[in-house]
Amino acid sequence: MPEQVPPTEKLPPPGRSYWGDAWSRLARNRLALISLWVLVGITLFCVVGPWLRGYGFNDQDYARVFADPSGAFPFGTDDLGRDQMVRIMVGGRVSLGIGLTATAVTLIIGVLYGAVAGYAGGRLGALMMRLVDVLYAMPFTIFVIMLLTFFGRNMWLLFVAIGAVEWLTMARMVYGQVRSLKERDFVLAARMLGQPWYRIVWRHLLPNVLGVIVVYATLTVPSVILLESFLSFLGLGVQAPRPSWGSLIKFGADQMTTSPHLLIIPALFFSVTLFCLNFLGDGLRDALDPQSRRD
């Protein structure tokens, strides 16, 4: 720990926010930055693509089933002669959408619940975490089936349902982190300045947990995408003929010996997305930690 900051080191310009700082640190991490742009590219491709493509995701043509990739169909066609490219785009909308929404739900519920339980500690905290245990013990599929039958089948509801299950782990993690952080003297110092508990949780504790949260969130996105394809397989998720990456990969795996492109291309999109999310999450963790600023 340097006693004096050497005069040559540039101090950050005054008044820059925590987030502004974090961004400038992220911008210096090349891998994370490339990942970010690739993700933006894939998202644009999936969101804007279907309008430009000229085919619908369910336009069938039995004259061109299982076509190999060519100029007219860069990603080939499937068993019903549907354009695989537009199906990947539309499937991407579903998978990315579900990944983001469900993760957002996970973040909001899990982080707040875990942080409050951790800070409250004692009997209230224990009670709150026992509730999490109870929900944990509940079979996930039954829970989702219940939700979907009560509230009708709806894609957004599905997103929320998955988020509502995934938050449990996030809550446990944040709970543990907050419990250990709250014993540190800076929390006592904040209390000594007369800060109320909600400000201590929000301003003092959460930034300290943010690194872990971000990494876990980037791991949640792929698991949620996989979960969706599992539910679709059970007939609870997105319904055929609507594609999702999960269902496309599953279908492709069945045709692997005859038309490998039906597996390789969607799998490529899926794995590139996951890689990018992991690199980005790693970069964010470093960027959000002010102590990692050295170069």
């Binding site: 720990m1 101090l11 005054p14 540190r184 800076f186 006592l188 000594m192 007369g194 301003r203 003092h204």
Partner: protein, 335 residues
């Protein structure tokens, strides 16, 4: 009217059916601008006593079983132990500040100093961010941090331990409290820095007429910097009085033991006197003189079953009665 008048403070912890009697019937007063040292071994209840005043202990398990602590404020005396959570929050920082032992953990590593230093000012005095930052810069300069206008925007890890403790002092004194509780503020620092920090703390508090409750292990600090000293053992006050009197002529055997455990230049090369054993287990409150529970300590039966009273022995000098006889130095050395 004293600034702080504590009477019969008793704090207990309820743990798995057992009760730990951490602080038993502690009373003292503190005048404006006065420095009161609190000394005693680890586990003698010093920190718990201080945290009880500000109600910083987790309750449960902690409970303040009895006592009152009257603090003079602009709006009249307040009993700290009776205030609601919202009211005590207004006292914390504004009326009573506190600095802690380990400066490495007492600042939030994720927040800039500018944020941490201005929080209290904005909350208690309703200052704008700009005005608060200006005051914070001045405060940093007062504790001897050069180039404060620039460095206020750094994070804690860019400062050394001693610097961080200065930042803590600046942070607490910014709110102009009437009383500052310093819980072993220099224990985690090296000796040269210790001295500088205590000098600075002393000067700043003198100028602002801030009273200080200085919790410490270091009797040298007490002799030089405190007006009065309170010696605690087993959660009870053993002796309280003017620090010069107590350091030169300690009356209670426990105070004598503490003073004999000090290294000094005249006893160079000789082993130090250290009482064997540990402070008593406070799950069963000592009924008599707590010192008699210490191995090697002998003494009459007078205070074996009855709690000895505090007796006045001089001007402002009170000592708890004791017939305990400390083990001889030879016995301690061979133990």
């Amino acid at each position: 009217m004293p600034l702080l008048d504590v009477q019969g403070l008793t704090t207990r912890f309820a743990m798995r059916g057992e009760t730990v009697h951490a602080v038993e019937d502690v009373s003292f007063v503190l005048e404006e601008g006065e420095v009161l040292g609190v000394v005693g071994e680890s586990g003698s209840g010093k920190s718990v006593m201080a945290s009880s005043l500000l109600r910083l202990l987790p309750m449960p398990p902690a409970q303040i079983a009895a006592g009152q602590a009257l603090l003079q404020t602009e709006s009249g005396p307040l009993d700290l132990l009776q205030l609601s959570e919202r009211e005590i929050r207004r006292v914390r920082g504004r009326e009573i500040g506190m600095i802690f032992q380990d400066p490495m953990t007492s600042l939030n590593p994720y927040l800039r100093l500018s944020t941490q230093l201005t929080e209290g000012l904005r909350r208690h005095y309703g200052l704008s961010k700009r005005a608060a930052i200006e005051q914070a810069i001045e405060a940093l300069e007062r504790v001897g941090i050069s180039d404060a206008a620039k460095r206020i925007h750094s994070h804690p890890h860019e400062f050394s331990g001693g610097m961080r403790q200065r930042v803590m002092i600046a942070m607490m004194l910014l709110l102009q409290p009437r009383l500052l509780i310093a819980d072993e503020p220099t224990t985690a620092l090296d000796v040269t820095v210790q001295r500088q920090i205590l000098d600075q703390l002393g000067a700043l508090c003198r100028d602002a007429r801030t009273a200080v409750l200085l919790i410490t292990h270091d009797l040298g600090v007490v002799a030089q910097r405190c007006h009065r000293v309170m010696v605690m053992y087993a959660g009870q006050v053993m002796e309280i009085g003017p620090s010069q009197v107590i350091c030169e002529a300690p009356r209670h055997p426990y105070t004598q033991a503490l003073l004999r455990a000090r290294p000094s230049a005249s006893l160079r090369g000789q082993p130090l006197y250290a009482l064997p054993g540990n402070p008593p287990d406070l799950r069963e409150p000592p009924v008599g003189d707590p010192l008699l529970l210490r191995p090697g300590v002998t003494g009459g039966d007078r205070w074996r079953t009855e709690r000895p009273p505090l007796e006045q022995v001089g001007a402002g000098h009170w000592v708890r009665a004791s017939e305990a006889v400390l083990p001889a130095w030879e016995e301690v050395r061979d133990a």
